[in-house]
Every structure is written in structure tokens, then in C-alpha cells.
Symmetry: C2
Subunit: 190 residues, 2 copies
């Protein structure tokens, strides 16, 4: 099986948020990776995850910053070109509310983000492409069910490599509330 | 629903191979696309497709050429950075065996490739990133069940933008047989 890629899983301070090391197989053409592989990622501890949508965002400039968005579905996030500084804040109700985790990710890393954990990233290279799989469908109405946190929140105090004053943001993301105003996302119905 | 992306589907000369126009939503940060969205793509005619693996290949140089590989599963292929000349040859047993289809694809286009249709591409820009979803798991043994065709096959006569003599290929892809030697892939068991 030496011809087969082998991912490895790491825990994080946020319960259920996992970092996955991917195997980039280089050759004369470039590289190949299994970005997500259900059969190999289940036994290493990733929850069973049936994606119904694959989203891609392209960012022209270094310092483009998107977030902080907690959605009512799980996400498997990865970078397919360039690098990002990834930041996550637990926005689920319960004792882990407010827990922060950050990690730099390039094509060799993926992150599994459970439902209710706020997702954000800042690009560290131009032309960075971010790709993610989700296990429920977005719709304009679904956006209303998101929980948002301001990227500049003083309690989460994320140490952005590029100061937010010099960063490219959407107007929507500039308007999100501080942690004290966030209504925690209720636990998943089981 | 003006805030929601709308894909459009086109048929091709190869039965079951569809070209999908994706909606790239640009803003001050770059763009966003729903690369694959089950709920929207079913009603426009894409077969129901439950991916279990997402593969990404990165290509340094213009003219990198990969193929022609027919696999025992369906593929939803897309380009997330750069551009490619995509080429497909029907290698399923039956009357469409040998049918060729080519189209240039960038981030705004995706192609659904049914099981048994040979897949190939040549990069038209440096640092091109190709991403695809498949509905069965690859393994080193599964590779043995592929059907291959030589990129230079004289019958398929694919008009590569960059002549193959100047292209970057894997040694494996240089060794594939001509169409007359190909054993057609048997029809899907239903
Ligand atoms: C397809 C696949 C390959 N591999 C390994 C085997 C090799 O060490 C390395 C590159 O595989 P290759 O088969 O040479 O990659 P490539 O020529 O791009 O072809 C792949 O990608 C093509 C599309 O780009 C498909 O049409 C082929 O069927 C598929 O095999 O990755 C995996 O670890 N997992 C996989 O799923
Ligand atoms: C999420 C989503 C958005 N859209 C549309 C709405 C907008 O016109 C455009 C960009 O959406 P925005 O929400 O501003 O994109 P962005 O700030 O990158 O945020 C998205 O991507 C983030 C990860 O990059 C997620 O954490 C967010 O929940 C998700 O909404 O795309 C879709 O058409 N489909 C979608 O699934």
C-alpha cells in the first residue's frame, strides 16, 4: 500500500475540530492529493460526513479576511492554492463557548469544522484559493440562521498576521457583533 | 432568490457527459462559487452523485498533460485556478465507443464525466489547480481496473494546444495503448 496516501488527524482545543495532515505526492508534473477520502478518514477519527455542496472562494490580495461565520452544518475546509491563516471560535452554547484556535494552512493541511464553530481565514499569499465541502445546502434564507462574530472581537483577540485595518473585508463582515452580543448556537438535535 | 447562484447544464456528443456553467460571484475580495451543489444540479439534469473522495492535482507548467484515464466511477471535474484544455474519449463498450469531446475549462465551468469515459487535460496556464469529486474510492488495486488510452492516439486525434512533444507527461501516461488495443469498459451493472 506504499502507493496510497495516508492522512493523519490532530485534535484542537475546540471539541470536534480536527486538523488533518494530507499527503502531497509530488512528481515531474506537480503534485496530487486526496483532499478528502471518506474511507481513509473515518478510521482515523473524522466523523462520517456526506457532502452535498463544494464551495470555492478566490482571493486576489494578501490580507483578504473572511469571517467569522458559524453555520448550521459541518465543513471540511482546505486550501488548494496559496496559504491562509485560519481562525476558529467556538460559538456553540456550553462550556467551550468562546474557545479560539488558529493554524496556518496550505495545500498539505485540511480542517474539519463542526457545526456551530465560527470559521474565518486571512490570506497570506495572492491568488489564494480556498475550497470546502459542507453537509447541508446553503440558501439565501440559510444565511439568516448563521451565527456571526466580529473579526476584531477583543475577547477572542485573534492575532491576525495582517492588521485588520490593512485587510480586505466585505461590508457584511465589518458589521458583525462582539462576543457579548452573540447568541450561542443551540446544540445539534440528535 | 437573486442572491443565489444558478448553474446551467449543456449536453455533449458523449452520452451522459455534461458541461455545467457555474456562477462566479465577484466582489472586492475576489470571487465565490458553488462548485458543486446537489440540490440545484439534480433538477437541471445532473445524475444523483454522492461523492466519497475529492482529489486535487497541481500542475507547475503550461502544457502539463494527464490522461487518458477511464475509471470505474463517475467524476465531477473542475478547475479552481488557471485554465485547461479538457479532452474526453468514450471508452465504454457500445456504439458511442471512440467518441471524442473537448472543451476549454476555467473556474466558471465544470464537467460531469460518467464512468467509463476517458478523462484527460492539458494546462493552459502555469500553477493550474484541477479538483474533482468521485463517487467511489480509489486504491492502488482500483488503478488496475482503469481503462487507458494513449494521449497521442491517431484515431481519437485530439488537437492538443501544446504539441505532446513539448508537453510534461508522466512515464505511465506515455505507455498507454492505442484505441485498437483498448478493451472497452463493460456497461455499468444495474
Ligand atoms: C487517483 C489517485 C492517485 N493516487 C496517487 C497515485 C500516484 O502516486 C499519485 C498520482 O496519481 P496519477 O494516477 O499518476 O495521477 P493523474 O495522472 O493525475 O491521474 C489521476 O487524475 C486524473 C484526473 O486528473 C484521473 O483521470 C485519473 O484517473 C487519476 O488517476 O497519486 C492516490 O493516492 N489516490 C488517488 O485517488
Ligand atoms: C455560502 C454561499 C454564498 N453564496 C453567495 C452569496 C454571496 O453573493 C456570495 C459570497 O458569499 P459570502 O457569504 O459573502 O462569502 P464568504 O464571506 O466567503 O463566506 C462564505 O464562506 C465562508 C468560508 O470561506 C463560510 O464560513 C461562510 O459561512 C460562507 O458564507 O456567494 C452562494 O451563492 N452560495 C453559498 O453557498
Amino acid at each position: 500500500m506504499s502507493d496510497s496516501t495516508r492522512p493523519a488527524l490532530h485534535e484542537s482545543p475546540i471539541p470536534g475540530l480536527f486538523v488533518v495532515d494530507l499527503d502531497l505526492r509530488g512528481d515531474n508534473r506537480g503534485w496530487f492529493k486526496e483532499n478528502w477520502q471518506r474511507e481513509k478518514m473515518l478510521p482515523i477519527g473524522l466523523p462520517d460526513f456526506g457532502p452535498v455542496q463544494n464551495n470555492v472562494s478566490f482571493n486576489d490580495e494578501v490580507g483578504t479576511t473572511r469571517g467569522i461565520h458559524a453555520e448550521p452544518w459541518d465543513k471540511f475546509v482546505s486550501v488548494v492554492h496559496g496559504r491562509v491563516f485560519g481562525a476558529w471560535v467556538d460559538l456553540r452554547e456550553g462550556s467551550s463557548f468562546g474557545t479560539v484556535f488558529t493554524v496556518e494552512i496550505g495545500p498539505e493541511t485540511a480542517v474539519f469544522v463542526p457545526r456551530g464553530v465560527g470559521n474565518a481565514y486571512q490570506t497570506l499569499e495572492p491568488n489564494t484559493v480556498y475550497s470546502y465541502l459542507v453537509n447541508d445546502h446553503w440558501s439565501p434564507d440559510a444565511g439568516a440562521k448563521y451565527t456571526f462574530l466580529n473579526l476584531a472581537d477583543e475577547t477572542a483577540a485573534i492575532d491576525w498576521p495582517i492588521p485588520l485595518d490593512d485587510a480586505v473585508l466585505s461590508d457584511k463582515d465589518r458589521a458583525h457583533p462582539r462576543l457579548a452580543e452573540v447568541r450561542p448556537m443551540p446544540a445539534r438535535k440528535t
